[in-house]
Symmetry: C2
């Protein structure tokens, strides 16, 4: 362990500069004008993998953004670890809320600041450096494959086909991923559950043009008012989702498991304080941890319609739109949920408006058993670096491809995340604690040690 620490310390300036070279590339997958940045970022990853000690690395085309594959084979008798990460990042607006340029990473207050600092450039890059150490020190005891994709933030659309056509290339005993978080710096945890996702856009159209709200108000359907009513009706007083059959396949977690979950450290007052809210808000009968861990949710991620500029405009808008995310749990099927949403939403449209539902992307929920060897190895590694046994947790987030890997490749994933809630991923001023970046590298090195035994 001292040796790893020393290696990190001797090379940390270089490690950070290499990470920054990835973070400076504006690889926003949801914006069309960043297509070239995606290719640039993939190529940079290829260079970094070769420099870290891969036998080979290449940028491979998909129907969308390219995938980076790197490999190091030490022998047929060793287990194979497939490291998964993503080099694409979320959009950066509202840009005015950033304290520094999101694509010009800086170190401040012992943190790396910038888009992708944590999600997932910072976290995935720890694997490149842990791998580098293992190769340089001659202690690598697993075959290692890397796969880095550029569409995670938009649903990994092209990766499924890629997996289908490259099953042999991606064959492994375990998939190792750092794209999640831990409860706190002094409370390590391993994510054993992820929610699925169905994301879609809805549009309500009233009259064929914006109308004068005086001359028409009260006599013609206002698509904003109607959209509000339709969205409002999707959840009831108990904050349950009202779409028929929505809960049909939801895995009801046993009372025993719920009691275990309740033992995870959680301080409601701190939670409220950190978010500056007076009260929490969610499905009746469940705790906050349960609401994000084992229960589905429906959230409007964006809404717009009519006049949104300065001052007032007395207009009855022609259109209103919203982006809606549904977080799913085992065993909800994202395609099925998208379909029943679409059917239901169209069915509740009042006369006088037209409704269009456009599915965007989705993915399935995932649960990992805590008795698999990779979990045990990760548990030992965390215990050693954090000085405390990690808690198994279920995250409310989604990494749709994790369920996809299991389905297509038949391979389980171990989610060794090191992020914190305060890292503000997907938000302005994303950051990643330097201490976690370095400790993550150590923990990953130890994982290989235990797993390869």
């Amino acid at each position: 362990m001292e040796e790893i620490k020393k290696y990190i310390n001797d090379n940390k300036e270089r490690f950070l500069e290499e990470l920054f070279s990835l973070m400076r590339i504006q690889s926003i997958s949801s914006e069309e004008n960043h297509k070239e940045d995606m290719v640039k970022c993939a190529n940079r990853w290829k260079e970094l993998l070769l420099e870290a000690g891969a036998d080979s690395a290449e940028v491979m085309p998909t129907a969308g953004n390219p995938v980076v594959i790197g490999k190091k084979t030490i022998g047929a008798n060793y287990p194979t670890v497939l490291v998964y990460g993503h080099y694409d990042v979320m959009p950066v607006d509202p840009i005015e809320l950033w304290n520094s340029n999101p694509f010009e990473p800086v170190i401040k207050e012992d943190r790396i600041w910038g888009r992708g600092a944590n999600d997932d450039k910072g976290q995935s890059f720890m694997h490149a450096k842990a791998f580098e150490y293992l190769v340089k020190s001659g202690t690598l005891n697993c075959n290692v494959k890397f796969i880095l994709e550029g569409e995670e933030e938009i649903g990994s659309g092209s990766l499924y086909d890629f997996c289908e056509t490259h099953k042999e290339l991606l064959k492994a005993n375990i998939i190792l991923v750092s794209d999640t978080g831990i409860i706190a710096s002094d409370t390590p945890s391993i994510t054993v559950g992820l929610r699925g996702l169905s994301y879609l856009e809805v549009e309500v159209t009233g009259a064929n043009r914006d109308l004068h709200s005086g001359l028409f108000g009260g006599a013609v359907a206002n698509p904003v008012n109607v959209l509000c009513k339709m969205i409002a009706s999707l959840t009831d007083e108990q904050h349950r989702i009202t779409i028929p059959h929505f809960y049909d396949k939801v895995l009801e977690v046993s009372e025993e498991e719920r009691q275990l979950m309740a033992q995870a450290p959680f301080n409601l007052e701190n939670y409220k304080k950190a978010l500056d809210i007076e009260e929490i808000y969610g499905e009746e009968g469940y705790s906050t941890i349960e609401r994000t861990g084992i229960r589905p949710a429906l959230d409007v991620c964006g809404i717009w319609g009519g006049y949104t500029g300065e001052g007032s405009k007395t207009v009855l808008p022609s259109k209103a739109s919203a982006k809606i995310s549904m977080r799913l749990v085992p065993h909800q099927d994202s395609v099925e949920i998208t379909n029943i949403f679409q059917q239901h939403f169209e069915s509740i449209a009042p006369q006088g408006v037209k409704v269009k539902v456009t599915p965007s992307h989705g993915g399935e929920a995932y649960v990992a058993p805590i008795d698999m060897p990779a979990y045990k190895a990760a548990e030992q590694a965390y215990t050693q670096t954090f000085g405390k046994r990690p808690v198994p947790t279920r995250s409310g987030g989604s990494i749709p491809v994790i369920a996809g890997f299991e389905k297509i490749l038949g391979t389980k994933s171990i989610l060794m995340g090191f992020g914190l809630e305060e890292d503000a991923i997907h938000s302005p001023n994303e950051s990643y604690k330097l201490q976690h970046f370095f400790r993550g590298i150590e923990t990953i090195v130890l994982f290989y040690g235990y797993y390869g035994k």
Copy 2:
């Protein structure tokens, strides 16, 4: 009548060029960066009034945009007509929907196209030209005063104070206004009722920053979902407004008057076709004409919150906002309604969010008696130019200052409008029929003839 027609025909190119000189000035009162354009437009009006034959004209300061005052006195024994109009216009976005530059007026398909073509530059300018004819032909039989303000589209905020401090200057027997429409080219009408207005902005805030919709979705109030629920709850299944005491002072129109209203020509199929809607939508128990004429309405004019860009972003927004317009009827008081809205809206906010209501502007409803001399004179004038007796109608729109004039100056208004629904005021591609522009001038000239007798 032939003489008026000849005068218009001989001078029409000049008339249009003069109107265009007003329309080219981007006098958008709701946008701060057009402050200079407001002054420019006021000064251009002053020039045009002097050229048309006013004894004097001046641009007078107010707390906001200036007011233009013009005067022509022919004698103490003659009645005085105060012509009111406004030189400010609505914003032009969505600009991409305009077929031509909104501030570069063009004539096409026998119409004037551009922002303000009708509302209210086109309509108010008819008065300058009718006045010019009366002066030039020596047939003016009334004292005439002009008042043109620059804040009608944002609630005439400064004009009330101006009226209070200039009561003598504005003293008149009747106020003459063209800022409304008629039913159709072959169905003249005179507006005898206007709705009042309460316009405000609401903001709902959840957590102190945008959150990851996976990590927090289901456990924390989403301000967009909450705003939708709050807005949805403002109207019930019968499309009645649910704010307590909202209807307390609404003037219930007699069965007899409702039967008269029902005789106004209205073709529901054409109405739906023109708007491209399959069904109308409004308060149960009332016809379309009643819904905009004698019943209040609540419309969201704009809504925004969260991610509204291209593609998808899985965010649980920190804030959501909406601009809300309530159209009022006699005898609702706009300040009182604004207050009860604010109280009610704040009271229905669930725990977990903060709500801010910001009143924007308002004005009272107005009803004019059809037996006053000015109505009779207008009726005769329309009958002569349109060949048909005009129908008295109640418009759903608001000209808040009309009720203000009555309250402060004690003077009634006669609303001689010539616009059509298809003119698309407040919308992209506003236009005004040339035929109505010229016939309006004729009708106004005739009005003076009958009224001054």
